[in-house]
Symmetry: C2
DNA sequence: CGGTGTCATGACACCGGTGTCATTTAGTCG
DNA sequence: CGACTAAATGACACCGGTGTCATGACACCG
């Protein structure tokens, strides 16, 4: 009565034996090193096939110290399960951009979600180091300032959609100043002169920057900004109902002005959608009576609203790609062009649809 | 003139030397094996701290053959970059569910996106095997039938949001029959008797099942189904404009009936949103003149529409959790309860909001 | 005080690849 | 045909942990 041994995976020794060569020769075939006679190579390949051989990265790693692994720390997946999709979901596009570059470079991503707790982040960074990742990407779900744990400084690291308070780490963020500029310009260039701006909560980084861009655009077009037209809507983590109420209130305020705006820029597409809903209820037609500009190009919304929403895109895919490229450069020790800004800001284009009326 | 050697990470030998013990003792401290004198333990821990020691999983793996790695193959991240967010994005919730379970089990996810090409899938599965993942999750972005490559059968594998044509692999899918049933019931239970059903393209798996559920519900409530009320909208990968036109057409058809429906169930929330837009243009008020039921509970839409949309939720988080649990069970060789269905279908609840009028 | 069992620790092989260097084989040329 | 060179291959150590087993120290016991 023989004990049936559970068959484990074949090793390089099994292949060597089957092909009647040394393990080193098998290794040579694997890595396409020089000088293996075609007939031998063929024999080895056949044996590998037969045994369904898969080399072990673990073993290889020990010797070469290379893993081909990139650690991705993110809140983008889990987000807060409590905040229903906040502004979050499109940030998956960041991952999309990252993925595409990693792919081309033959790197594999280990993805871990930090969830809420900061000590979790520390712990995950540790786990990544145990797996000897060659670099780390920290991906935030909206533009923000972070204070990364010390462990991130010990490996090549690039921050995505966020920056550390002391700006020591390379980072790729959206250019929100340019974004605000373009949003305002979208209306200005079509002849609008009184433009409302419903901003995200003031505590958010993006809000301030977009505000700045909004003002700069008016300056460039030599249009005076009426401060009464710029309103912050809601606080940081208001419940949805509260948010809706705040918007309604702000909107009333704008439309009841002696000289109401002819266009309104929104902090994001979600807000634009709420605005559509509200205006519809009041019988205000878009864009005939009021033009609307969104922010994010959340296509789900922008393409489905009626009329389709003109909006400023966030270049998430490009940001992801750029961040991944920078990380790989850093890993490969390519002489980083020091003239590069540590924090790199990428602007997205205005996507023209049908929610802005041309007054010219 | 000494050459400054680049300092690489500390090994267990460095720690052993610093603590003046054998490597084995360090190993014992690491793994909390029995019997290390407290004083020794303390010394070792200190040395580890000082050297910033991080054990190498690669080395450990070689000996123990355990990696704590799970491979996740998905189209959920990249989706088709061409299809703007199709029905896709909420499938991130699948990852969320998976992540939460992996976390609890101390497993780490390697995520790779299959993109479009099938050979890419084969290649990624191979890469996973090289890293000696202990199991694989294949995550689809919508309920579908797949023909997985042979390599998936060589490791514990669970399919998520899809099933293989021969149903050999364990799978977790949404219970679309129950979904269709509940959607219809949402209207039926509020007194509606003529209920329109705008379905997704007929080629999709979900469509047929939901149809079936829709019919079963009517049977259970002893309500006759008028076949003229069930319309398929659009083909598989229609461009958005085409889709919108198809919807408008279908809607006209329904509302021009001699006896038009008092409620309409939609194939998904996105369609419901288009429907809102259209009805608004025609001046048909929801839910006073027409009730609407969605599908998916895509909160971005459902919470923002006015009135907020009553919809059938897809239990993505639970599906992810369930799939992850099953995979881990299988890895640990827990005697799988064979009475379990190979393909497990999970139903989501109706989320009641304000788009269905109570006729009773 | 010697025998015995337990506790704490160490020596050493091993996991599956790759790097180094030696060795064998084939190829070229005078 | 033999010498010499290049090509092909093999022997063996090594990477950084863990498993097995041996060994030293010490308490306990008769």
């Amino acid at each position: 009565m023989e004990i049936q041994e559970e068959r484990v995976v074949a090793t390089i020794y099994d292949v060597a034996q089957a092909a009647r060569v040394s393990v080193k020769t098998v290794s040579r075939v694997l890595n396409e090193e020089a000088a293996v006679r075609p007939s031998t190579r063929e024999r080895v390949l056949q044996s590998m096939q037969q045994l369904n051989y898969t080399p072990s990265t673990a073993a290889r790693t020990m010797r070469t110290q290379k893993t081909g692994l990139i650690g991705v720390l993110t809140t983008a997946i889990t987000s807060a399960p409590t905040t229903p999709d906040a502004a979050g979901l499109p940030s998956v596009n960041l991952l999309k951009g990252i993925q595409s570059v990693m792919d081309r470079s033959g790197m594999l991503m280990m993805v871990a979600d930090t969830g809420e707790s900061p000590e979790r982040l520390e712990q995950l960074a540790r786990t990544f180091r145990e797996h000897r990742v060659e670099g780390i990407l920290y991906v935030a779900d909206y533009h923000q300032s972070v204070s990364p744990p010390a462990s991130l400084f010990e490996l090549p690291t690039v921050l995505v959609n966020c920056f550390d308070e002391h700006q020591r780490l390379p980072a790729v963020v959206p250019d929100d100043v340019a974004g605000g500029y373009r949003a305002a310009e979208a209306a200005l260039s079509r002849g609008h002169r009184r433009i409302g701006f419903l901003t995200l909560p003031e505590t958010m980084v993006a809000t301030q920057l977009r505000n700045q861009g909004f003002l700069e655009a008016h300056e460039a077009w030599e249009v005076q900004v009426d401060p009464g037209l710029v309103l912050s809507v809601g606080k940081f983590l208001d419940p949805p109902q509260e948010e809706a109420r705040a918007l309604r209130h702000a909107l009333e305020q704008l439309l009841n002005l002696r000289e109401p705006p002819t266009a309104i820029c929104c902090g994001n597409d979600k807000m634009a959608m709420s605005l559509y809903m509200q205006l519809q209820q009041w019988g205000v037609s878009i864009p005939e009576q009021l033009s609307v500009v969104g922010f994010d190009d959340y296509t789900l919304i922008t393409e489905l609203l009626n009329p389709r929403l003109t909006t400023v895109a966030l270049p998430y895919v490009e940001m992801g790609q750029r961040a991944a490229s920078r990380l790989i450069q850093e890993i490969q020790g390519v002489a980083e062009d020091r003239s590069d800004r540590i924090v790199e800001a990428l602007a997205g284009p205005v996507i023209w649809r049908h929610s802005v009326k041309d007054l010219r």
